[in-house]
Amino acid sequence: MKKHNNIKELLDNLENTIQIHNIKEISNILDNALEFGVSPNKIRQALVNGIGKARHQLMSNKVPIAEFLLCMDTMNEGLNKLAPLLNKENPFGKGIHLVIGVVEGDPHDLGKNIISGIYKAYGYEVFDLGRDVPKDTFIKKVQENNAKVLALSAMMSTTAVSMRDIINEVKFKFPDTLVIVGGAPFDKVLAMTYGADAYAESASTVIEETEAAIQKKV
């Protein structure tokens, strides 16, 4: 492993390690940064910067999605190692509680898993309910976790329709909770028709779409 002379070099190397998805080295580089006295929050920010650059490459079609996911896996490896330290320093990253899940009847959760991973990477406190989640579970978890964001996913047109009920109930009971929807049957128009606050088009844009919706709501 390369020896680093200063903090900037170390943080740049961490960013680069995410971008080139060097999963074998991430742990060592992270240890090195900690030994060097870099704060866990700065390390996390470097990891986020790395995944941000990878997302931009995905957005401009410079990397296929499989390679972007390798970057995500590298980042998750780093975040998992960092988690116990971050909990002391900054328990919730952004401090935004987000409930995510695939609606009832729908077993397709790969897209949701990717989006869930991206939210975690960007410091959201994610409560991932998995797939085939009934409406009442979404409502209960939004309430229990005082969720600022509810992210709903569906891959089939027949399961997507149940989102309308979920959105109506969330809007009625928790008007401050923002609802973002995504999945194959959706486009922006349909998402708005269902009453969602935002539409998550893809893994490369979901963070900007969510943050824009949060800003609009504030």
Partner: protein, 227 residues
């Protein structure tokens, strides 16, 4: 009703591997070594550990009536404007083939939630491609039979695509005993195992229009089939 349990021959697996390369976005770009390794692992499971359980079933029923927007069979009414136009334009006695193909759920269980995201994605792409391979084998089987009778057929058409709602799934399951190959569908018409394909096609002496895309103005549709 015909049930088959085809063998995935080496050349078909090789063809699927090439298709997966393309589907993962490696048309011209050299595949990343890590992605290549995941792909190798996935196909190792397929070839050596036999985790793919290919099964298929099909049944051919006569068209009782074809009017605009509806094609009636003993299994139920297929409600699709475009498909009904395709059927109406056929010559000779018209029949519908109903088909179901699956690779089972063993492969999915290996990767679902148990592997890193990159592996889940690559394995899922492999699973989808192999399901298409099984559907192709099934199609070749019934096509072989109708070829002998000098008949033609359209391309496969599945519920949830184009103007045929996903609830059309129930008609396919009326025509076929899905459970005989381990495939079922839930209240939302979603099939399990996930890696299953249901479809219909029209069979007749002459089938001038092969897919509903011929009637469609959405030239940029990602599912559009070149005709």
């Amino acid at each position: 009703m015909v049930v088959i349990q085809p063998e995935l021959k080496k050349e078909l697996i090789e063809k699927a591997r090439k298709n997966v390369f393309h589907k993962l976005g490696y048309h011209k770009k050299k595949m990343d070594p890590e992605v290549e390794k995941i792909l190798k692992d996935a196909f190792l499971l397929v070839e050596e550990h036999k985790v793919i359980k290919p099964k298929g079933i099909y049944h051919i029923l006569p068209v009782l009536k074809a009017v605009e927007g509806e094609v009636e069979t003993d299994a139920g009414v297929i409600k699709s404007q475009k498909f009904s136009l395709m059927v109406k334009m056929c010559h000779g006695k018209r029949r519908i083939v109903f088909m179901l193909a699956t690779i089972g759920d063993e492969f999915e269980k290996i990767y679902h939630k148990k592997k890193p995201l990159s592996s889940q994605f690559v394995f899922d792409t492999v699973g989808s491609e192999l399901t298409e391979t099984v559907a192709d084998i099934l199609e070749r089987d019934w096509k072989g039979r109708i070829d002998n009778e000098g008949l033609q057929s359209s391309l496969r058409f599945s519920p949830g695509y184009c103007d045929w709602d996903l609830d059309g799934q129930s008609i396919i399951f009326n025509a076929l005993d899905g459970m005989s190959i381990g495939v079922s569908f839930n209240n939302h018409f979603v099939m399990r195992p996930c890696k299953s394909i249901s479809a219909i096609a029209v069979i007749a002496r002459s089938v001038p229009i092969k897919a509903p895309c011929s009637f469609c103005i959405e030239k940029d549709c990602r599912w559009r089939r070149a005709l």
